[in-house]
Symmetry: C2
Subunit: 311 residues, 2 copies
């Protein structure tokens, strides 16, 4: 991974923010992440293709889909999404990442409904923590969370961006144009013909951290979620229930809004977005207030809400 | 089938009226038919469960689902619909009728997404014209249409309603209270003790025809659709394209708005509703006008539009 093309910016669009069943306000789980020219989809519940269209997103930009787990509310919009891409004339390959079984699921459903997909589907199954995809200045990592089904959390991670070389300042110190400039930029000190030494710190700005966004749903409170969200600019985390239902949440493989805020705190994240809200919360204010009591910079996701994230 | 409880009335709610892919205006195919206390669903494209909810329909009334064919746009909303019924606490059985393969499709998808359905699913596959379901005063018939995949059209058919016995008039003619009244009602003539004969037509009103509603999509122009729509109060028929695209329509197993109107005319239907509209028609006015030129009592279905139908 090179950090040279770290975008240090992404736009998240929540496409569905409910859990289990859709409501009039919240569709089934999905979100789009736009970074530079690329668009990624995380989860694809029923109705995602329509929300994608409502959000004005461009199917041609979509290069990679990441599925957390195989429960129906997170994946049953995928076959129809793939079919509509086909109807729309897609010719470029599409990567789909998910837990073991995702390939069999997609292939079986497409076969059963006699769908023809003419573009290339690149299916990847991940059974443990690993780097699942690499691109220009970023990588996507996954870790297993703690749900009833095997479930992956994901993080988009940009490498640090090397600081810019201050050429004028280097020249003023006597550095000649040419290879010495490149060595300084790469972090090496150089000895001038005068015998003087120039250190990189004298002429190169400090490296800037890259963007980091983590997506963790569905899960009980999990150290793996903390690892994914370590120093993240944005942690998107499930908050299926309020904390007075913690026992029920854990029994069902979920966590509470307060627990999501504790994860964000322990990870040192900068912002928390709660999603995967149980249909029982027509008004999610109780979830927001209990999370903000722990981690103030929390928002509750809403369908078609967009968040701009900057490193 | 008894006609004694013919409702002679139904309410159709169109839940999705697009073909292939959803648009911002039209969802994937599905419609609900309410008759008396029962609710039926015809087709169940992705997004149906949300449209069902938007329409204010009551899941507890839903007793029977009829699937036309196994193409994804007509059936991929069904697994999620079944899962949400489970989350809603359904305990009563649900019938699902469809072409051969519908059972394998549903069972495979539910298994792949690890869904638990606690209520009884009664799966019925139909490979030829037959009566697929019977109820109080009605039956549902199916016939194979002419699509690329094996596809069933359906008709809700009520038996004729026997005319009422005019008891006062029968008494005035000398008919005594008792068994003779029942014989007249059943259509038999009776001979009084006076030797006079009373014919049923003298005291029993003419039978009234029951309701008939036909649902035909997807299909090329088909004699089987005409048979289903014979004397129907409402024919719901696909009209994927306008007639200037007839060749394309037939190649894809579809028909045009004009052809749908010709089917309605030849069947002697009383009203025609066009549905399964290609996303290319942002404005469906051309479809409506070419159909009305042939069959004036035509409407174009819209999502969440309701039609009251009376025999």
């Amino acid at each position: 991974m090179t950090g040279r093309h770290a975008a240090r910016h992404a736009r998240i669009t929540f496409l569905g923010t409910s859990s289990g069943a859709p409501t009039l306000a919240r569709g089934l789980p999905s979100l789009a992440l736009r970074r530079g020219p690329e668009l990624f989809l995380f989860d694809c519940g029923e109705g995602t293709q329509l929300q994608f269209r409502k959000a004005g997103l461009r199917p041609g930009r979509l290069s990679r889909v990441f599925i957390s787990h195989l429960h129906g509310d997170h994946v049953l919009g995928l076959p129809g999404f793939l079919m509509s891409l086909q109807l729309g004339g897609r010719a470029t390959p599409l990567e789909i990442h998910g837990p073991p079984g995702i390939a069999a699921l997609i292939q079986a459903v497409l076969r059963l409904v006699e769908a023809h997909i003419g573009y290339e589907l690149r299916l990847f199954e991940h059974g443990a923590a690993e780097t699942v995809a690499r691109g220009d200045g970023y990588q996507i990592e996954c870790r297993p969370l703690d749900h009833r089904a095997f479930c992956l959390g994901y993080a988009l991670v940009e490498a640090p961006v090397p600081g810019a070389l201050d050429v004028a300042r280097a020249r003023a110190l006597g550095v000649p144009d040419g290879p010495m400039m490149g060595r300084l930029k790469r972090g090496e000190s150089v000895t001038l013909s005068s015998g003087a030494t120039v250190e990189p710190a004298q002429v190169v700005a400090p490296a800037r951290r890259g963007l980091r966004v983590a997506y963790c749903t569905d899960t009980r409170p999990s150290d793996e979620a903390i690892a994914l969200a370590r120093d993240a600019d944005l942690l998107i985390h499930e908050a299926t229930f309020a904390h007075d239902r913690a026992e029920d949440a854990h029994a069902k493989g979920h966590c509470t809004a307060r627990e999501a805020a504790e994860i964000a705190t322990r990870a040192g994240a900068r912002q928390l977005a709660l999603t995967h809200i149980s249909p029982r919360y027509g008004d999610p204010a109780p979830l927001l207030s209990e999370a903000q009591a722990v981690f103030p910079n929390t928002v509750i996701a809403a369908d078609l809400m967009a968040l701009e994230v900057t490193a």
